[in-house]
Subunit: 761 residues, 2 copies
């Protein structure tokens, strides 16, 4: 039997190799524009996987990625550092390059653009005003700009150290990026270095400094510098006097119409930026860098191969979803100005968004990379005191719903990701669980923890008390998971007990036919029925708090409601470790089914946000996986597509995208636990190439738009009757065959997925 199975595996490996050769241009299925219109806020410029440098167009200074689809808006230029898919106040947009022609008297130079093209690792556009074609590509720490001018008279390229996204008139506005300083130094007729120092932004972070070293492939006729609004024609450097500075390379009768600029970036120094540039782009071949980037993308994207016959739109959706997931966090090894320990990653933006599906997806594709990222998180804990819940520009913050790094760690642990010091990790998790961050609750740690640990719930003395109680309970389950695994029984029992804390806010009230909701309670243990809203017309308003109430942002600030970015209707399902208990408390399976139906049918469900990521699959726990499948297909068909509007809500560093990617291949993770829910996929065949060189294949037989139900399944040739799969089944390699049908079946209706079950080790 074993021999036979090995033979099957070997065949699969060979099959995969062939496919791989046939499809070694996965990057071609990536369309960076998906999600660039609407609220997706994705980055459309050039980046390598997890690239520190993300060079792209800055169309709108108030836009999170710098990009705005509106072609009527005038582009500011192309800056080197961006994030993708974020919301709130923008971050980065540093070191802006802008080519222009003709008028050299103005520092400010803008133009509309057309003919935009974007691929993985490549972006280009034409600047209407001057008919300049701009092309961008990047390595991890350097960008390569190629500008083709209309002719070789009177052209210029500006390097602007004073540009950044999210500047506001109010100097210290919250979430606004604020200028601290900048410097420029002309090295020769073809080299300029300098920096830009910025603070604030979405996470209200400390100042960060982006250093650059730029080289031109041909000498500038002259390089002027500028400071504030003044151009200094005779000064080759501007020191940092807390003003905006930059330089302008004047090109007149230059040799080629095409001018290449390569620019190294660093968070350490201009010399490090130069080193990064010469180390990563030692030549002037633009195409080579593009290809190198594409190869890097292909290496990662090829870890999951979908059937070649998949509809182009689905191929695009799937590989772009992978692409978006792999843009962040960013690899900043050797680029941390605060301490030296490696590895270092930044732009966890935010873990609350990405722990649910992005982390599990990366664990599946590249557990080594996931280990590096977690080790970077542990370094942050060791050197700065707390794990990040979010982090950007070398500063932790802002915590979102629940400070969920614990789940990222537990997810890696249960999936046996190696190369992580899990004892250290448990220490970091326990820090989060025991030491309140006090006045720094917005930055890191568990806000409201003093209440949580004293009362068993976060009282209405603290903002976001509802989601914090729920999420801390699940975080505690994650702690118990790791504690059990490494034999720390005291902590295991303590945190397993605390994992029930969500029940302390479960109130037996009825709303829209459902019973039992997470509701606010004061620190004396009394339920809170009404909440105070901003005073209007000279009196304080109190409004009844209901499971559908959204106190934010009208009654209280965005971050100050009882729930963060969702209602009790959505959040009362958020007990990922004990759905069985939620079902029981909701009145049993039938009541729970009705409750789920109500959520979706009455639009209480918000597709555009993370709290309900797991919810469409909860039918699995009442042994009706067919209904999960149906919901997921409905959600995807209604909300995701391959157009520029193809992502509902902010992509959140790829969180929405990774949700889609998993569901398209018929698997959905419950992060922090070692299994996947099985649903009807969107592709007839998926091959996952695992880190151990084994492969796992999912085949969907009878795939069609109507066939969204699974009739039967086989795992490695044997009937498989559970609607969920262990992670170990995947990493051991093998084949899952799903037979699809157009109506619900009895398949998977016997054994619901686990509830409150921690695997032994």
């Amino acid at each position: 039997m074993k021999l036979v199975f090995n033979f099957i595996l070997l065949t699969l490996v060979l099959l995969w190799s062939n496919k791989s050769q046939a499809q070694n241009t996965y990057y071609q299925h990536v369309d960076p524009f998906i999600g660039s219109q609407g609220e997706g806020n994705v980055f459309v410029g050039a980046s390598t996987p997890f690239g520190m440098v993300k060079a792209g167009p800055d169309v709108n200074q108030a836009a999170n990625s710098g990009y705005d689809a509106n072609l009527a808006l005038e582009l500011h230029g192309f800056s080197q550092i961006h994030v993708s898919g974020t919301g709130g106040g923008p971050k980065y947009g540093n070191i802006l390059l802008m080519p222009y022609s003709g008028d050299f008297a103005q520092i400010q130079q803008r133009s509309t653009r057309n003919n935009e093209q974007a691929r993985a690792g490549y972006y280009s556009a034409q600047l209407d005003k001057w008919q300049i074609t701009a092309e961008l590509t990047t390595t991890n720490k350097a960008a390569f700009h190629q500008y083709t001018f209309k002719d070789n008279h009177q052209n210029a390229i500006k390097i602007d150290g004073g540009f950044f996204l999210g500047e506001k008139k109010t100097p210290d506005a919250r979430e606004a990026q604020q200028f601290v300083g900048s410097e420029v130094d002309v090295i020769s007729t073809s080299a300029i270095k300098g920096y830009s120092r910025i603070r604030g932004g979405w996470n209200n972070g400390d100042a960060y400094t982006v250093y650059y070293y730029a080289m031109f492939d041909q000498p500038c006729q002259k390089i002027n510098t500028f400071k504030g609004n003044t151009i200094y024609v005779d000064q080759t450097s501007q020191y940092d006097s807390a003003e905006k500075t930059g330089a302008i390379c004047l090109l007149s009768n230059h040799h080629h119409k095409q001018v290449k600029v390569k620019i190294g970036l660093s968070f350490i120094s201009t010399a490090k930026a130069k080193h990064n540039l010469l180390n990563e782009i030692p030549h002037w071949n633009f195409e080579d860098v593009v290809q190198q980037s594409q190869q890097q993308w292909d290496k990662l994207l090829s870890r999951i191969t979908i059937d070649n016959d998949t509809a182009d739109s689905h191929k695009k959706m799937f590989y772009t979803a992978l692409y978006h997931t792999l843009l962040m966090p960013v690899d900043r090894n050797g680029e941390n100005p605060k301490w030296n320990a490696q590895p270092y990653y930044d732009d966890f933006y935010a873990i609350w968004d990405t722990f649910r599906t992005s982390s599990p997806l990366l664990t599946l594709i590249s557990p080594q990379r996931q280990a590096q990222i977690i080790n970077a998180m542990l370094n942050i804990y060791q050197y700065e005191g707390y794990l990040p819940d979010a982090r950007s520009g070398n500063s932790n913050g802002r915590t979102q719903g629940g400070s969920n790094a614990a789940i990222v760690i537990a997810d890696a642990y249960v999936k046996e990701v190696s190369g992580i010091n899990y004892r250290m990790a448990l220490k970091a998790m326990i820090k989060d669980a025991t030491i309140p961050p006090g006045g720094n609750g917005e930055k890191e740690g568990r806000g409201g923890l003093a209440d949580y640990n004293r009362l068993g719930y976060v009282s209405n003395n603290f903002v976001r008390a509802g989601n914090r109680t729920l999420e801390y309970a699940y975080n505690d389950f994650a702690l118990a998971t790791v504690a059990k695994g490494i034999g720390r029984n005291g902590e295991y029992h303590r945190y397993l007990a605390q994992a029930d804390n969500w029940q302390n806010l479960w109130r037996n009230i009825e709303n829209n036919g459902a019973t039992g909701f997470i509701m606010p309670k004061d620190d004396q243990g009394r339920w809170v029925n009404s909440i105070s809203c901003n005073s209007t017309e000279g009196r304080f308003e109190r409004i009844t708090y209901t499971p559908l109430a959204q106190d934010w942002p009208n009654c209280v600030c965005w971050w100050c409601g009882f729930f963060y970015e969702a209602s009790s209707w959505e959040y009362s399902f958020y007990v990922p470790h004990d759905i069985a208990a939620v079902i029981e408390k909701s009145g049993g399976a039938n009541a729970f089914e009705q409750r789920l139906n109500t959520l979706f049918e009455r639009d209480f469900y918000n597709v555009a946000n993370e709290p309900s990521f797991l919810t469409p699959t909860l039918y699995h726990w009442i042994n009706k996986p067919a209904l999960s499948s149906q919901r997921i297909h409905h959600i995807i068909d209604q909300n995701y597509n391959s157009s520029r509007h193809g992502i509902p809500g902010n992509d959140d560093s790829g969180a929405m995208s990774s949700w889609l990617a998993f569901n398209m291949i018929g698997l959905f993770p419950n992060a922090g636990q070692p299994y996947y829910l099985i649903n009807a996929p969107y592709v007839s065949s998926t091959t996952i190439k695992l880190a151990n060189n084994k492969i796992f294949v999912i085949k969907a037989k009878g795939l069609s738009h109507r066939n969204v139900y699974i009739k039967s399944a086989k795992l490695n040739g044997k009937p498989y009757n559970r609607a969920w799969l262990q992670h170990s089944d995947i990493i051991n390699g093998g084949e899952l065959i799903l037979n699809l049908d157009d109506k619900p079946s009895k398949w998977g209706t016997k054994t619901p997925p686990p509830s409150k079950s921690i695997p032994g080790r």
Copy 2:
């Protein structure tokens, strides 16, 4: 009458002017070596008042100021940034210069030194090994080194960006400074720039970067660079790869035996360091810079003139005490890499040390400067969230006994220091008083505040619970003071009530004849009789907690005792706002007198630390000011002198020195309240030149070593019978005549100083 008095004032102004001319070399009375032996830890190098740059000898890498009096130790060189008088793990010691001769193969070059000389603004020593004379002087942001070699063959000057104080073998040891990165770039044969990036140190602060730009007055024959332990003869720069770097200027057959090096420093960039250098030292005249520094010192020191006939040793003690007080915090306007708001001061090290006498002394000498410093503190609050209790290297931390910035603000407020936004200041104080710093309690804010605000005291759940309760109570009095003044009655009443919180830990127990002590209590309100000590021999030890018990550092860590750096015997007197209540609770005046006597006679008093700064004057409150006078004279005579051992304990940025300076002129402040206790001075005449151009003169008639008691007094010609003086009496200008005697008198025995009294405005 008014006319007559104006005439007196005029006469005094004229007298003062004459004196001023006669004594316009106050700096000559400064001996930077006072306190350089023993535990004083003072900085002996060159600095301007509040100078950012403090260039001095680094003899011992484990020494706080870099200095060690031991002449047998080999000097490492002369680095540019230091602190003075601090304890705990060292900070700074950045950018080391070292001249040497002969052996160029070694990077490490050390020599013993002799013939050390130090004056305000000047330091010199001879390096034995090579017979090189090194002389140093500084401006605020630049240092000037003048090296005279034995001859002009085979010499060298090293600039070491990898040197710093307090490095430990354990990479991340607490309070150790840790290397992050460094860079060097040779600009020409006579200019070198670079930086050193260091984290940690005493306050466990974030990384700070010291940039430099150094110029030689004659070309180096060659400049080599080094990285790690390797000299690179053909490389003119070393980029930051997280290794130690530097450069060596080789001087062979150079023009002059004397080589001058001037070096600009900056916390912003090398270009800013260059700007600072050229802006502050645009020439090569070493003597000019020395004189400029001396003038700056004289300008401040001359604000208090003591009688010219004063014994030299007392003159030295007094002006050196002023000098030590005016070294820190340091003026870093325009040098904050985190945000731009001005003014900016750093190296509050620590306010717990300096609020008692250093801040009041500066308020007397230069209220404008004190306003700048407080505005810098408010900027720190605005940009980083909390006022500093201590701060160094652009990072708040570590909080000491009580987070006492509130008292600095109240002290300025009651003394009507203008140019401060006191409404903003109250906001900052209230932040301290209401928002617990959580896991960052070591960095800023009030640790244990959750207890304090809930229970009215800090329970033994928190470290340093005793002093925190006492000090927060006095901080609250400071809040009430400012709140009352600006008409915030709600806060006034709330914090005035909280100012009694010290009583919640007052336990009626007897010890050494005294009754009532601040003792530990648990969070259930039960007194705690014994404390757990480190386990020894396999069992947990519990020891009885008594008013003399010192649980730290043997039972618990240095910062973890019930009291910080003192016993209950000392701390139970620490109620600066309500001594009357302490007297009453101690059993009345007689019992209190006995209690004070016991403290001093049985050596329960620690002269070398701040908690008991006010205690010797407490006899004033039982109407026996003569006993205060007697104690103070005894303490000074026994513990202070003009020798290198002349300061008891760490000088703490001048805290011990400012205590001495006040007591030498017969005034002692109760910081945060608008009055001074009067005692017999050490000088027969003191003239204070006030910011409003008025002068206040204190004359001590009958001054002698035996006459330590005041027999009678006159203020502006009228009998003055209180042993304390309002600040307004001083700033209105005038004359206080004290008649001294060798035995206690009835003077000042009728009206004790205020208790729980907040002045209206």
